[in-house]
């Protein structure tokens, strides 16, 4: 479920610029004037003289000074000298690996541009300090032209760690096309880096790229329709198990949220809308829909449909997942198609019969009366199994017999 919307940059309303934002911008201004990379260790301090001209400004700029030092060097924010730092992380190189990953610029998913191959060629690996990071130079395709060094640093990561415990589902792979690694003199002591990429979905293939210090250039198999490089999530297994918990919680609590103001306003508005000229004119007509055997009910707005056919297809889509599971548990998995066929026509029923409860509390077959009359009297809906509906839907049973 997506929160209200993804809010693209809009011009109107309050500007999101921050009072302090300027101090970050100034970094780029100076970046253009000076060599891109300076020394790493303690290099931050070395730049202080550059800033001294503005040292006389008040504290606002001085806090900006702090900001400048950080970004000016292209130091990762995670490498600030006073922070506990990534290196303190108990998981040694793995965390570095993952954090460095945020600096990578891989190709767009699904893009197969061959130029990218050259971008991936590694130059000779420098002695890379873990703290060194690279200013991200925007380039076409969003590929950082310095990324090759990042990959080299990947060599240090101990890719062997990525070999175990890869989950089947979670790995998603970005760059298609060829990956070529040419790492010479890797200083990690690991002569081989292995990038194991499993593909999302049911392909289940393992694509292994190995990187020899001799500089061979393996290529990634191209058959796979999907994507990129999995950056060593050795906790992916764990992630599988945890992922269901957040979703369940989300449903329970009612996130994505509505703002309280909106909630309150709509509450009042809905009340007043109900009486207009003495006739009720509700905006939406929500009724519960239950289905035998389903773990929870759904609600539909009858006003969004204008025919029985529309209602039937919508309910079909909504409840299809339950029938598939039922099929799957009893029969062989490849029979999902059966589930669809079973659902072909809820109203005229094959295995299921659609019924509704009217104002008098009686359970009626859906489809007998004109649509407008139906939505006025319908209080709730129920999808019954055909076998339960004997007596309730004689027509349905006849039809299904005829179809079968």
């Amino acid at each position: 479920m997506i929160m209200e919307s993804i809010i693209f940059p809009t011009v109107k309303g309050m500007a999101e610029e921050d009072y302090f934002s300027g101090s970050q911008e100034i970094l780029h201004f100076f970046d253009l004037m000076s060599p891109p990379l300076l020394g790493v260790e303690g290099g931050g301090r070395g730049n202080a003289p550059l800033m001294s001209s503005s040292a006389s400004v008040d504290c606002i700029s001085q806090s900006g000074l702090g900001l400048k030092e950080r970004n000016y060097l292209g130091l990762s924010d995670c490498s600030s000298v006073d922070s506990s730092g990534v290196s303190n992380v108990s998981e040694e190189n793995k965390s570095n690996l993952n954090l460095k990953a945020t600096e990578l610029r891989l190709g767009l998913p699904g893009s197969r541009s061959p130029e990218r191959d050259s971008d991936f060629i590694l130059l000779s690996s420098d002695k890379l300090d873990e703290k060194q990071l690279f200013p991200l130079l925007p380039s076409k395709d969003g590929i950082c032209s310095l990324m090759q060094k990042s990959i080299v640093s990947g060599n240090k990561r101990g890719f062997s760690d990525t070999m175990d415990g890869f989950s089947e589902k979670k790995c998603s792979v970005f760059a298609e096309g060829k990956w070529m690694f040419n790492a010479t003199g890797s200083d990690s002591g690991t002569p081989q880096s292995v990038i194991e990429a499993k593909l999302a979905g049911n392909a289940g293939k393992n694509v292994i790229l190995s990187n020899n210090s001799s500089g061979t250039q393996p290529t990634m198999k191209k058959e796979v329709p999907t994507r990129a490089l999995q950056e060593g999530h050795n906790k992916m297994n764990g992630s599988n198990n945890n992922s269901s918990a957040p979703a369940a919680k989300a449903q329970v609590v009612g996130w994505p949220p509505i703002r309280s103001f909106r909630k309150n306003t709509l509450a009042t508005t809905l009340k007043t809308n109900d009486e207009v000229d003495g006739k009720p004119v509700p905006g939406a007509l929500f009724v519960k829909v239950s289905m035998d055997g389903a773990p929870y009910l759904r609600k539909v707005d009858l006003r969004t449909y204008s025919t029985y056919q529309e209602l039937s297809s919508a309910l079909e889509k909504m409840f299809m997942c339950f029938t598939i599971r039922q099929c799957g548990s009893q029969e062989a998995p490849g029979r999902e198609m059966m589930g669809e066929n079973k659902f072909k026509d809820l109203v005229h029923g094959s295995d299921y019969v659609l019924t509704f409860e009217d104002k008098d509390g009686d359970w009626m077959l859906v489809g007998d009366v004109p649509w407008e009359m139906f939505i006025e009297s319908c209080k709730r809906l129920k999808i019954m199994k055909g076998s339960d509906a004997i007596g309730l839907a004689p027509r349905a049973m006849e039809k299904s017999k005829n179809q079968n």
């Binding site: 449903q251 909630k263 905006g283």
Partner: protein, 528 residues
């Protein structure tokens, strides 16, 4: 060479700089530029009212004319922040009243505004022109009356989504007859009655009125009179749109609306009889902005009919009663659409069946796969993305993508997502322009919090609630970073003896500041 530029010339050049960022940059070049800039800066934006004090603002920018202030954390919109948390505007008004009386514009968001503040504004700033309050609370219509009575040159009074106690007073009639300068009036969020005759007279004498948003107390018969008086309106928010479509009044409304050819933006319809809606069809063709998100009374068929006529629409806010089919009508009709927001119509936010979703949601629901790839694709393709909210079935992977690709991202909201500290660390490490990060109910803990404490000084604020951060880690962070205020919001009653360091913190809000811990925090908020 720069030194030989006379300051007047510099000032003239700087007067073309309107963006805050440009001006901030310029002021860092040298001392002389800093001084010229600071005396010429008229508009100041402060994203967090506790990051700096009003006195320092005034001493640096003595000639500020327009001030924008934001107070409470964004999650206050969803009731996650206690009502008495803070964000009081009074100290700012007080300071400005002493040191900077040429204030003309005040824009406040999520602040606590008292009637005293409004009265002080009304008394202290002779040139006051514009008051915009968004999602604020704490004031009543008495405060509005003070502003209406005393601000002789008031051009704009814009109240958006505020909680206002309606004292059934006569605030509208407090606009003196001599007030003819109003160009924008928005009181849609007021719940009470207004003096309709006074409203008519006000509209009649304000010939520059361009934007008018009414509350539900303004009925169609008044609306048609107002529109007859103000055919120059560009932005209209209808209040109540309920009437007998057979009546004479409705006829008049239809006729007068046909003449309102300047209207480009339409909103409201807080109460609506759908059969009256055809009256707006003539103006649909020119609309660039349509907000029907507060109009649950318009159901699907009518919505679609309206949208089919709005071919020039650029901005559409709508309820999810529009349904999938309705959205495809939007797609095929509104070729110039730039912004689309779909709001849930069910009060509890639980989705109904109307929007089943192509796209991310549908895939996830059917396959039970995480939404990582979908959001990953979004942050990759939308290179200018500045703000993103994610929730749903999401693992650390999505945060890896966000860290890698969302280069321009400034604000990120996370709920019920992620698997481990890595998720948060990806974001903190990768999003260089990140300003605001707000997280709830996600498994991020101390390691992520403390991995890069320096990062928080580059950001405006961080909110974490129902995560795995402990009290001890927050204390460590606060000790290490004196220029951050680390606030623990504790609404329970565990105050006695102080919490254990190993205890999880329910709500933490930290932000950078130049002025140290604030003095107006309630008992439930501790600054470490």
């Amino acid at each position: 060479m720069i030194n030989y530029f006379p300051e007047e010339v510099l000032e003239q050049v700087f007067s073309f700089l309107t963006s805050h960022r440009d001006r901030n940059v310029v002021s860092l070049v040298c001392k002389s530029w800093y001084n010229v800039e600071r005396f010429s800066r008229g508009k100041v934006f402060i994203g967090n009212c506790y990051a700096i004090s009003p006195e320092r603002l005034i001493s640096r920018f003595p000639r500020v004319r327009s001030l924008t202030l934001k107070g409470k954390p964004h999650f206050a919109d969803f009731n996650l922040v206690p009502r008495d948390w803070g964000g009081y505007v009074y100290p700012w008004i007080e300071a400005m009243a002493k040191g900077c009386t040429n204030l003309e514009e005040l824009r406040l968001k999520r602040m606590s505004v008292s009637d005293e503040s409004l009265q002080l504004i009304a008394k202290s700033f002779p040139n006051f022109k514009s008051l915009v309050l968004v999602s604020c609370e704490g004031f009543t219509t008495d405060g509005l009356a003070a502003v209406a009575s005393n601000c002789r040159f008031l051009r704009e009074l814009d109240l958006q989504e505020n909680e206002v106690e309606d004292r059934r007073g006569q605030w509208l009639s407090c606009f003196p007859d001599s007030c003819t300068s109003l160009a924008s009036l928005n009181f849609a969020c007021l719940e009470g009655e207004v003096n309709l005759a006074a409203l008519e007279r006000l509209v009649a004498r304000c010939r520059n009125l361009k934007s008018l948003r009414l509350n539900h107390a303004v009925t169609p018969d008044i609306l048609q009179k107002i529109l007859a008086l103000a055919p120059q309106l560009v932005d209209l928010g209808a209040g109540s749109f309920v009437h007998d479509p057979e009546s004479e009044i409705y006829n008049k409304l239809k006729n007068v609306m046909q003449k309102c050819s300047s209207i480009r933006s339409l909103s409201g319809f807080l109460d609506v009889n759908a059969r009256c809606l055809p009256a707006i069809y003539p103006i649909c063709t020119n609309l660039t902005s349509l907000n029907l998100s507060y109009a649950p009374g318009i159901y699907n068929k009518e919505l679609v009919k309206i949208i089919r006529k709005c071919k020039k629409l650029q901005c559409l806010w709508i309820l999810d009663t529009i349904g999938d089919k309705g959205l495809s009508v939007v797609a095929s009709t509104c070729k110039e659409l730039q912004e689309l927001r779909v709001f849930p119509s069910d009060r509890n936010g639980v989705g109904n069946a109307a929007i089943t979703g192509e796209g991310l949601v549908a895939i996830s629901a059917v396959t039970m796969q995480p939404l990582d790839e979908g959001f990953g694709a979004i942050v990759q393709s939308c290179k200018g993305l500045k703000r993103l909210s994610v929730s749903g079935l999401l693992t650390d992977q999505v945060f890896l993508y966000i860290g890698m690709y969302a280069e321009q991202l400034e604000m990120l909201s996370i709920a019920f997502a992620g698997n481990s500290d890595k998720g948060m660390m990806y974001v903190l490490n990768g999003c260089k322009k990140l300003k605001k990060l707000e997280i709830r109910d996600s498994p991020f803990g101390n390691k992520a919090l403390l991995a890069d404490t320096g990062k928080y000084e580059t950001m405006q604020s961080l909110w974490m609630s129902s995560c795995k951060v402990t009290f001890g880690a927050c204390k460590t962070l606060a000790e290490k970073m004196p220029r951050l205020n680390v606030e623990i919001i504790n609404e329970g009653d565990e105050m006695e003896g102080g919490p254990d360091d190993r205890q999880s913190v329910e709500k933490m809000y930290l932000y950078r500041t130049l002025v140290g811990p604030r003095k107006d925090a309630p008992d439930s908020v501790w600054t470490l």
